[in-house]
Amino acid sequence: MPDEIYKVQLDGVFEGPMDLLIYLIKKNEVDVYDIPIALITDQYLKYLEWMKSMNIDFAGDFLVMAATLIQIKSRMLLPVHEDEESEEDPRLELTKPLLEYLQVKSAAEHLSARSILGEDTFIRTIDKEDYLTAGEDEIINVDLFELIDAFKKILENISDDQRLDLTADRISVKDRIAQIVDLLEKQASITFGELFSSDVNKGEIILTFLAILEMVKLSLVRIVQHVHTGIIRIFYL
């Protein structure tokens, strides 16, 4: 076994536990639908041991799979009662994901085998600048990833305490502010009642309230309460 593993090693370390399992199944020429669980578990664990002895780092996923294998193996050892015929083969837990992964592997191979642009065929690469008059610098296509990427690069250059306010909550408040501004742009003022009527849950109400507070702080709005009716109205400044 160690020799064989060494050979495998030359082909590259296994990407994950599924990769290793599929290798073992192919090597032993066994049926995915009828996996000799004891044999495969044994070889799987030996491989992990070998990786450890070679000081090769491997992800925790390998250990999770090892636990799964051992569990299936022990369930297989339990006596099957006549009346429990309908019980699922414990190995199905392994077969289903293995089949799915095998499908993915074939699909990936199919993609690799296609005629790939930039590899098997080429298009013209032209300098768009020739056609642009404005002195704009490097032009990129707008795409959400570009936006995230731009922000990630900025983040790398700012200190930690400045980034604390970038959690999902803060973004929700910002979102609510944008919605309120949209409303105010249409009608200049809005009552508290109108603003909260659509809010069904507590979280939403708090969010709206936080948004209004933030807007007041930013002097985006002015809040006025009518002396007689008690109606609170928000004015867009």
């Binding site: 990407e15 199919h110 642009l117 013209r124 990427d149």
Partner: protein
């Protein structure tokens, strides 16, 4: 007609992605789809007749001028650019996104059995995949899907052009034996 053909040829020559008929229509401010279709097929016929270094290819719902595969060897000698080369792990992840889209990261990782964060980032960067939005489940994870560029790179007219997994398996089985 003659002129439209020439303009379209010039457009095809500078476009870095495949041009849809709708796009050509809006650039030319034309209403007639037929005129554009006729010009495109006339161009294609011409390129086939002269059998030059390039041809008109229908891909990603549009049209693109590409070099003929028989000259790849020479082109590679000229432009020593980084080849597209995609790692096996990246290709597997891309295949999962392509076949199961829209899909969230945890589902991809469930299938592959390993962390895919770095690979997803690479695929995003190379514009093979994009973020579609968020899934309305706890944690509101990001949803991934393939891009138009993915279709262009892998020479697909549309997503339906991808063979089904059963079709691939049949191909694989015959190749194995």
């Amino acid at each position: 007609m003659e002129d439209i053909k020439k303009i379209i040829e010039a457009l095809l020559f500078v476009s870095d992605s495949s041009l849809t008929i709708d796009r050509i229509k809006s650039v030319l401010a034309l209403n007639s789809t037929k005129e554009i279709q006729d010009a495109l097929s006339a161009l294609s016929d011409e390129y086939e007749a002269r059998k030059g270094g390039f041809y008109l290819h229908a891909v990603a719902g549009g049209y693109q001028i590409r070099t003929r595969p028989e000259y790849t060897k020479w082109i590679k000698r000229l432009i020593r650019t980084k080849p597209v080369r995609i790692s096996k792990a990246a290709m597997e992840t891309l295949a999962i996104v392509a076949y199961k889209q829209p899909i969230v990261r945890s589902d991809i990782e469930h299938i592959r059995g390993v962390d895919c964060g770095g690979i997803l980032r690479t695929l995003l960067e190379r514009k093979f995949i994009r973020i579609l939005g968020r899934k309305e489940i706890p944690g509101r994870p990001l949803i991934y899907a393939t891009t138009r560029q993915f279709l262009e790179i892998f020479d697909l007219k549309d997503l339906k052009d991808l063979p089904t997994t059963e079709e691939i398996e049949k191909l694989g089985n015959t190749a194995d034996t």
